[in-house]
Symmetry: D3
Subunit: 243 residues, 6 copies
């Protein structure tokens, strides 16, 4: 089984870390193929970055689809381009935010999200509502750590995240923590050990959900809302991405 | 007051019709400036088109912002790029879907949407929920008319829309109709006359809401969620749109 | 265009201030006509006051309708008599609470309300739910300032409101403030300057929304829920108000 | 125990029928005291009637409070003036719509409402939402029978209501019927027999809920939202009702 | 009228106290018959206890049904076995959690729950949502008092509950307190006196609601969801409870 | 990895079919261990069956926990005993209803459930709400096929289910079908082929979700709501199941 993991930002270092996180949990026989878009933002921290990230995701999903990927993971916590990617792909497409929300809600009656910049909380808010987790998700907490500062994260980042998570568990009466950024994947294990509750990294969760769905012979529904994009010729610089 | 109306698709004909619809309702002293993106889809009829439309909207909002626009209208019923555009703009940014929903809910206790392709209903569904109109909006109805077939719409389109609206009013127990596409603006008057209930075109509604907010001295909140996009250099073809 | 602004309380001084606030934002060509009921409470601060205010609103809307008003504003934050007034009026009827909620939700992802007596918060609560703003409205905060103490409001009132608003913005993670009383209209400008976020006064917002709807040729839906009141003879002191 | 049942319309005949319905279910020792307002509409069938009904309710609740009533029932399905009446009364105040909703939700997993004019459905809609029954209430169905036509209701009314109820049970997958008008009380028994499911008349339900609460020594909360109305002098014809 | 009150735990002492609480409010002519299951947990403080409690409730409801009980009360705040008991019983079945929620929402615009172990809050959470009280219930607060420690509760328990209730009223802006355990019934009166707001004990509330429904001639709907359990032979130790 | 699949009914034939369905999708290295309770109903078709099923599930989860199972599946569409089982188990516990809902919502924007007896729809309704799928789940449809009639299901059952599913897809505008009974697992493949949309069997979905969570090193949260059941001695026939 080939799972294409798309990093929606253009940071090669982060793609490598995402690849490692994905590979670490992949089943034997699963081939993880981590890529990033040829264009867009080096980190995704506001709606503006998110818009271009969505376009970049489509570039890579289309290529993956042509190359026979069985499933796709969108490795940014805003799940940019998710619905459009499902139009393009035949196999399942999983965003890491939704993957983490689904996993957490199977392990605890309520969970809290710990994320990077406070201004991104509203993006998670919107996803939580659209996906139906507005009662399971008991709080979304920014740490105001920039995404790329997580790269080679030293102790300071870890301690900040740990502290925010601890407070969130108590204040929100939550039983699990969802990490709100693909770049936090490598902190997951130690956080779980220190906090004593399930800590969910969306990258890993998405890879395993993708494996699960492919293993069940399930693919994205092509009836109705996720039918393939209508063929039309795009103008200007978008022309190469015409469906 | 200068209002930049951004058509998120690349059809010049449709931009002209949107410009006319906007100009028809603009107050004396309001300068409507209708533009379309230099890239993207000629019509927006699925999530894939919507992703590129969002990027195109940002191109034009940024230009409008540089050129001193006082407010912006996003003239596609999926409100593509709305939140990102609000990060970019100082003045108000109004999507035509939200504008129509707000207007309708001031005139009737419930309304129904009549739109183009059935597959786009889910896009409206998501907006309705995010904006909080899930109880006021009593139904979203596709006509399976393609967006560009509305251009120079002959009697067939009109009759289909009229029939769908009539059925919707009865079945949904609604008191108003929201037209689910910028391309339906010029049918609005006659539909209203024939149906005997308020029929709301989002383009007009958005222009008037923009005028209202500017007239009140109100601008997009720059505290928190809609703060200006963080400065960073985008890669590849997105580089010129780096914030 | 003639907009009748109905102050649902019987304080002439407050009517004058409301008239000034309305006139200050009205477009050239808009005639604002501020009135108050011939009966009812001098200020509206609980459900009991609100009931009589609703009846008073109908008195004035009926007169305005007879005198050819194009639209109506109900200038009390509980929107008393709103639905009944829409039955009476042909043109749009806008409550200042709903107007402020609609405006705020176009400028920020979430807003907070700062109002007068804490006991009135539940009235706003009920409106927020009925209108669909229960997710956009992140908090409703009483200051326990009596409505008529706002009249000729000295620095104390202002500072209390400013402080409550500041706390609300932080605690609720909000991007805008809605003022929860028509009597706060003249504090709006300075509050906005001090707080650095949009501050919305419902009186101004309602006037501009009314202008917008009239400008679009839209009137209250007369099909179904807002059809004219059924003709019948009322008994006792209500007899003169028989529909 | 003295329960004052307030008919919010001014029809003496209907008050008599309401009195009979209340007396028929009252416990030994309960004194039912049915009254109607000295002013207002002879039947309540739209928002306009409802506004004046609310004022009339206050007249009678205040008098009942002075005369030592232990509890109050508001015998119109729109529960007019409910919150204000609770400010005035020390004992419990029960609206017949809420009473019927509460009772029905204890007997079936879902219920349907059968009411008079279709245009009143929206009033019930608003109550259902405010009270929290939006999932238990699976449908609200108008029969377009005028309230006063129920008076001395012949077979035609009965058959229409029966037919509408039957259809509602099937279409809504409901297990109980709520009658949406105080004037339907005397049809309740036969409807129940014919339909084979619980049929709830709000007048009876409200009387028994009032008895239950008084029997428990419970009174309306006077802390916060339902504190007594603030003392102030009302103007004009409302002067005698100043709190 | 015979009301069978089922204590879902197996503590005879608690059954006696529940019987006393029920009898204290029962109308003349109401025969309260308090029983407990022959099997299960001595106190119900987690989901595991709750599962066995549900089975025990069925044992006693079936017996009560055979012996001609007119109504049933399930006297544990998790309402264990409620829906199944309604399948078995012809008369009304009332859980004490739902009874308390219904009563509280008739007396105040919002209420708070004070309960025993914090871990049981999630059980109440689930009920609140299922019953539709998620907006009326403004907070659920654990005291971490074990259920059986309430038995012969000394001053410490009382003071803890009082303190938690006081804090809840202020923090949640609530107007009433719901006691979250049948074992708190005898503290109800004094708490009410000390707090100055309605304090609702579910046992009493359920008895009075049962009386009310029986007095109205209403029984559990047997059409659809609560039809009698299908006849089948259970295996193993459950065999005697085959429907 | 050892996954214990608990059939909550006592039909050995159905356990065998569930075992086969589970084994068919299990990864190499996953040991599926299908069992059923020693007591309870031969099929679960109402709330009464469900109560005893929950107790039976606990019997088997406790045994599985003692025998070192890594995860548990509850193979009945009502997810009986789910929360209590999570208190008992260290590893993840997955109900087949929730598993199917989660999977479906990753493949389509909305899904419909096709189940057995119509009277069980309300059980699914309650789960859908508790889990947060009330917007994704667009309809729950009974076929009125008894659970055990699915055993050795001939063409009639298949055709009925197929027909109901087809109608559901059209009426609900859904993109996927969830099968509402463990006994439908072996029809899944052919249904999917005939319907052309994803058809989700909860047994398979739950096994793969369990594998996914175990593969991620995630276990049930033991902090708070799912802490181990409190140690206490149960009375009577429940004594052997004392925690």
């Amino acid at each position: 089984m080939r799972i294409r993991v798309v990093n929606p930002n253009t940071s090669a270092a982060m793609t490598a870390r995402i690849a490692a996180a994905a590979a670490a949990v992949a089943a034997p026989g699963t081939l993880v193929d981590a890529v990033h878009s040829s264009f867009g933002a080096p980190s995704i921290e506001d709606h503006h970055d998110d818009v271009w990230a969505a376009a970049g995701v489509l570039e890579q999903v289309r290529r993956g689809q042509a190359e026979g990927a069985d499933a796709f993971v969108i490795a940014c916590f805003g799940d940019p381009g998710l619905h459009a990617a499902r139009e393009v792909a035949d196999g399942p497409v999983i965003g890491i935010a939704e993957a983490a929300f689904h996993a957490a809600s199977l392990l605890a009656t309520g969970f809290s999200v710990v994320t990077t910049l406070t201004r991104t909380c509203v993006i998670a808010d919107h996803l939580v509502l659209q996906y139906g987790f507005e009662r399971k998700c008991r709080g979304i907490h920014g740490t105001d750590i920039a995404v790329l500062d997580l790269d080679g994260a030293d102790g300071t980042c870890f301690e900040t995240i740990l502290g925010t998570a601890r407070e969130a568990l108590a204040r929100d009466r939550s039983g699990a923590i969802v990490l709100g950024c693909a770049g936090m994947a490598d902190l997951c294990g130690e956080l779980q050990q220190r906090l004593g509750v399930p800590v969910i990294d969306g990258v890993g969760a998405a890879v395993k959900l993708a494996e699960a769905l492919v293993g069940l012979g399930l693919r994205t529904s092509k009836s109705g809302d996720y039918a393939p994009p209508l063929a039309k010729t795009y103008a200007g610089l978008a022309q190469p991405w015409s469906p």
